[in-house]
Amino acid sequence: MIKQQNQMHATIKERPVSTLDQKPARAEGRKDPWSQMLEKVGKSQDREAYHALFQHFGPQIKYYAMANGLSSHAEELVQEVFVSIWRRSCLYDWRKAAASTWIFTIARNQRIDMLRKMRRLSAEMPVETEDLWQIPGDNEDEPVTSLHRLMSERRIRESLSLLPEEQTTVIAKVYMENKSHQMVANELNIPLGTVKSRVRLALNKLKVILQDQNV
């Protein structure tokens, strides 16, 4: 409880960081510029905002596709992700996720979906990609959780730079190259236990509140 209060306190004190020229309105102080843009797309199908999102996230998603071994389909994935962003933008709520987190999950789901289609599995599977990978309960109001969500992204970005390279390397391989901890261990030629402890150390240092209750 005390922790939560501190976090709320910290949010209020923090200044909104904006990389864009325009100053966010006071009431929107906690929204980052990309989340504001995404909201505009959702609310009023704003194509200028959509284009700005494309210019910012398009190149990231293209690299994501290539790192995942989808080189020859990288631009196709970028397209799928952006069509999906347009379609789903009406569901976006800045209080629940920063735009970058929301877009990352769409990129991940589209990547999984594309691989499924390549293996021609989707026709045989009654369960869709999103049924398995999307976090349920998007419609619920979980105000405390959503505060966590906004806080955590900012905090992660700030503290990631302080991690030793061997830890960020492992995390990057898991997230960007679709590698299991076991595969990362094989590739770096280190024991699985070492990979796991690097990830655990990193998560602790990122202060991502992820206590394992039954370990």
């Binding site: 494309f54 398009g58 190149p59 990231q60 998603i61 293209k62 690299y63 994501y64 290539m66 790192a67 631009e75 970028v78 397209q79 069509v83 347009w86 379609r87 933008s89 569901l91 920063a98 970058s100 987190t101 990352f104 999950t105 990129a107 991940r108 999984i112 045989e124 599977m125 009654p126 369960v127 049924d131 398995l132 990978w133 976090i135 349920p136 309960g137 998007d138 419609n139 979980e142 959780t145 969500r149 955590s152 992660i156 970005r157 990631l160 990057a172 898991v174 997230y175 960007m176 679709n178 299991s180 901890h181 796991k196 990830v199 998560l203 991502v208 992820l210 394992d212 209750q213 039954n214």
Partner: protein, 213 residues
């Protein structure tokens, strides 16, 4: 309220989209009922977003935005997704097409019935099994060949490690010998994913070392 949760590393593999589909299903079913783990995955998704942001960026071809625009223009207007999502059928119902208790269970020894649903996951090497232990019933003591991931879908069972209630998440391996007992009141139904037997590795090693045999 669930007491037994997946560990951070497994949730990270879920967030990264690296788990096999049967494993993802177990996590997803747990997340449906566990706000604690939902917020953990939220944070891991943010970590994924930050990782993506910090990688090198690759120039996207100049004409792509126009083709995206023409695609969204050629499609019907944005539908109201919000209503659709609320009425969505859960993944397990979709997968099974019927109520858990109405499934064609196969009676095993004693109080245990099983149903192998591996064929619902084409292209996966893991075995996916539903198990039902009659209320108050006992399973025989057993160990596990590989790693077994289990989520309780209905009722509860106990073994020497504790009580596992609905939506609790358990991972057992070769070291764990257990003798689960279903609690009274309701049949206990679990979904388990068993990792493929490691025999393949053995064969491969033998092929690599023909002179050692």
């Amino acid at each position: 309220m669930t007491q037994h949760h997946p560990d951070s590393l497994t949730l990270m593999e879920f967030s990264a989209g690296n788990l096999t589909e049967p494993h993802a299903l177990c996590i997803r079913l747990h997340l449906d009922q566990c706000s604690h783990c939902r917020s953990r995955v939220d944070m891991l998704d943010s970590l994924g977003a930050v990782m993506m942001e910090q990688q090198p960026q690759v120039t996207v071809s100049g004409s792509m935005f126009d083709s995206i625009l023409s695609r969204i223009d050629s499609e019907p207007a944005v539908q109201d997704l919000s209503g659709m999502r609320k009425n969505r059928v859960g993944p397990l119902e979709k997968l099974l097409g019927t109520d858990l208790n109405a499934l064609p269970w196969k009676r095993q020894l004693g109080d245990l019935s099983v149903l192998d649903i591996s064929d619902r996951f084409p292209g996966q090497s893991e075995q996916v099994v539903l198990q039902k232990l009659t209320a108050g019933g006992k399973a025989l003591a057993h160990t596990h060949r590989g790693e077994e991931t289990t989520i309780v879908l209905q009722g509860a069972f106990s073994d020497k490690k504790g009580v596992f209630n609905q939506w609790d998440f358990v991972v057992l391996n070769q070291q764990d010998e257990h003798k689960p007992v279903a609690l009274e009141g309701d049949d206990c139904i679990t979904l388990s994913v068993l990792s493929a037997p490691v025999r393949l590795t053995g064969t491969f090693t033998r092929m690599l070392n023909p002179f050692i045999r």
